[in-house]
């Protein structure tokens, strides 16, 4: 069943990719691209930035030293800010992590991050979308207060869609209430 389902979905994917380009959008958001004659490759590109755990390889510089964002012992390697139940308040234990990212972003004007807000599964989907956004914005506010240009930051909430731990226990939920700092350029 799983196989049948996923195969069917795979088969549908290119059709839907086409469909995503078309339509008569009342709100002009994207230039209407001409529909390609041949369907695009079966796998639609995943619109997902590289996760911080697996950083994209950095261009080799003259010095062999590790980029500070990739130094596993540095504060910049920490990208997750965890939250209390139903709260979007940044806990004091994460202040130094946020300060490190604020310093880096301020010093590197071309660097940019997406702040992802996440929730545990309790509560409704839309409410969690709002709560996730508020968590991401709380981190954004902490960064901008420390001098980061807001233009370097994009906020997106995933609500309860992307749990770090798929379990239904208190410990799983604690891991899922988080904001994630994702570098899109460094």
């Amino acid at each position: 069943m799983k196989r049948v389902l996923s195969l069917a979905v795979l088969a549908i994917a290119p059709v839907l990719f086409l469909s995503a380009c078309g339509g008569s959008n009342a709100v002009k958001e994207e230039a209407a691209a001409p529909a390609p004659k041949t369907p695009p490759p079966v796998e639609t590109p995943k619109a997902q930035a590289p996760r911080a755990e697996e950083p994209a390889p950095v261009a080799k510089s003259a010095t062999p030293s590790v980029h500070q964002l990739d130094d596993p012992s540095g504060l910049l390697a920490k990208r997750k800010i965890y939250f209390e139940y139903d709260s979007s308040e940044v806990q004091s234990e994460f202040r130094n992590v946020i300060a490190a990212h604020a310093t880096y972003l301020s010093a590197n004007a071309s660097a940019a991050v997406i702040l992802e807000g996440h929730c545990d599964e309790r509560g409704t989907r839309e409410y969690n979308m709002a709560l996730g956004e508020r968590r991401a914005r709380a981190v954004m506010q902490a960064l901008t207060l420390q001098g980061v240009n807001a233009k370097q930051i994009t906020v997106v909430s995933y609500g309860e869609e992307r749990p770090e731990d798929p379990g239904h226990s208190d410990s799983a939920w604690a891991k899922n209430r988080r904001a994630f700092i994702s570098y899109t350029s460094r």
């Binding site: 059709v15 078309g22 995943k46 409704t124």
Partner: protein, 447 residues
């Protein structure tokens, strides 16, 4: 523009053909709570007059419909003392002795191909009052093979209406979202439209990124929903008959929680243009946007009263999320829920007398609850603890919602339907390991 329309048709036909594979997304149905005192009814297997096997087990479809309503308890076939397929063959004492007050018998004929060569079928049925030895309804219906399940649901609607006095909702449709579990941390999201018994499921939209908050337009054809295909939330409206898809809300930041006005002209939305989720109303045609809420807390999940004069929504203005009502004419805001830790995602019954929402108890369990609007009395309907997305059937008899089923090896999102009195509950799930089903929404009557 014209080309677009043609392309849409092609895409839709392609989707339709893919979906015609019966193995795709068929949900298992399980009655988890049955009513005591449900009325016994016998639906005798229909006689089949044609070559080979009958194309549809009409009696089984009708019996399953009536059973799912919670008001009926169909007699199992092996307990039947006779199996007449025609009124003349019924011996009422065979039904009185097993205490069955109502009886359905019928026949399915293949009457041969029409001009196009496609077989036409005739369905004839009688509904009896056993104790009065009286015909309550008889009818002959016709259809092609692919229409026969729908014809069976129409018979269920008639039987339900005659015996309960309430309109049946067996010919209506539902929409829901599945999330395949084949990609770690992500998955594939599919918006399906299916018959009310979850048969004939057709994918409407598929994306590797989240899809959520589907909402039927009052015409029963269009669905508004939120997608994250652009790594942010946008609201689309898609016509399920043509496949045409329009971006309707693409404001700065968040666009979500679409809810149609009863006249189908406006969408209430949650937007975060100013950095915080607030409720707005968008006129789809004129694009005029009216802001409804203005508060530092979260305001979201709007829904309309059936008369279109008020919106209910979830708001944190009193501290915790609770249900509030906004009246368009006066601008007045009234808090509706006071019991429990939190109350979220309210929507009205079609007659406006009941409000269903997610009620969080003091021990942080989320249940589907119903409030009698006139008295304010709240009743919790479920004992599942992670309920979401309650949606009334268009006849107001049932509420379909999403919950999480946890057994030894698997935990997954399933759909459940509960009667408004809480007596009957059933579960619809994908097979273990195949993924989650979520976000059900029941279509209105009359499409």
């Amino acid at each position: 523009m014209r080309n677009n329309a043609v392309m849409w048709r092609v895409i839709f036909v392609a989707l339709y053909m893919l979906a015609a594979t019966p193995a795709v997304a068929t949900l298992n149905i399980e009655i988890t709570r049955s009513a005591e005192g449900a009325a016994r009814i016998a639906v005798v297997p229909f006689g089949w007059y044609g070559q080979g096997a009958a194309p549809v087990d009409v009696a089984a479809v009708i019996a399953a419909d009536l059973h799912r309503s919670g008001l009926f308890s169909p007699v199992v076939v092996k307990d039947m003392l006779e199996k007449p397929d025609d009124a003349a063959a019924v011996d009422f004492k065979n039904w009185r002795v097993i205490e069955v007050p109502n009886l359905v018998v019928g026949r399915l004929y293949n009457v041969g191909p029409d001009k196009t060569g496609e077989d036409i079928y005739t369905l004839r049925f009688h509904l009896f009052d056993v104790y009065q030895a009286k015909v309550l309804q008889e009818m002959t219906l016709q259809g092609r093979k692919k229409e026969l399940r729908y014809r069976a649901h129409q018979i269920s609607d008639l039987i339900y209406q005659i015996l309960t006095g309430q309109r049946g909702a067996f010919t209506t449709r539902i929409a829901y979202i599945t999330k395949g579990l084949n990609v770690k941390g992500g998955g594939r999201y599919t918006l399906f439209v299916a018959d009310a018994d979850t048969e004939n499921a057709l994918p409407v939209f598929v994306s590797p990124e989240p899809i959520f908050s589907p909402a039927w337009a009052p015409d029963g054809k269009r669905i508004a929903y939120v997608t994250m295909e652009k790594r942010r939330q946008q609201v689309y409206v898609q016509d399920t008959t043509t496949g045409q898809r329009d971006l309707v809300a693409n404001f700065m930041n968040y666009n979500g929680a679409p809810a149609w006005s009863p006249d189908g002209k406006k969408l209430a939305l949650a937007l975060s243009q100013d950095g915080n989720h607030e409720v707005y109303v968008l006129d789809i045609e004129t694009r005029v946007l009216k802001r409804i809420t203005n508060h530092w807390g979260i305001d979201t999940e709007p829904a309309w009263t059936p008369d279109g004069r008020n919106l209910v929504y979830t708001s944190e203005q009193g501290g915790s999320p609770q249900i509030y009502q906004y009246t368009f004419s006066s601008g007045e805001i009234k808090r509706l829920t006071f019991e429990g830790k939190q109350n979220l995602r309210a929507s009205y019954s079609p007659d406006g007398r009941l409000l269903t929402f997610i009620h969080r108890t003091e021990d942080r369990q989320d249940h589907v609850a119903v409030m009698d609007v006139a008295t304010g009395l709240v009743r919790v309907l479920t004992d599942t603890g992670l309920d979401e997305s309650p949606s009334f059937a268009p006849n107001g008899s049932m509420i379909i919602f999403a919950t999480t089923k946890i057994d030894e090896r698997h935990q997954r999102g399933v759909l459940s339907a509960v009667s408004v009195d809480g007596r009957v509950q059933q579960m619809f799930s994908l097979p273990p390991g195949a993924g989650d089903v979520r976000e059900p929404t029941w279509a209105p009557f009359g499409h």
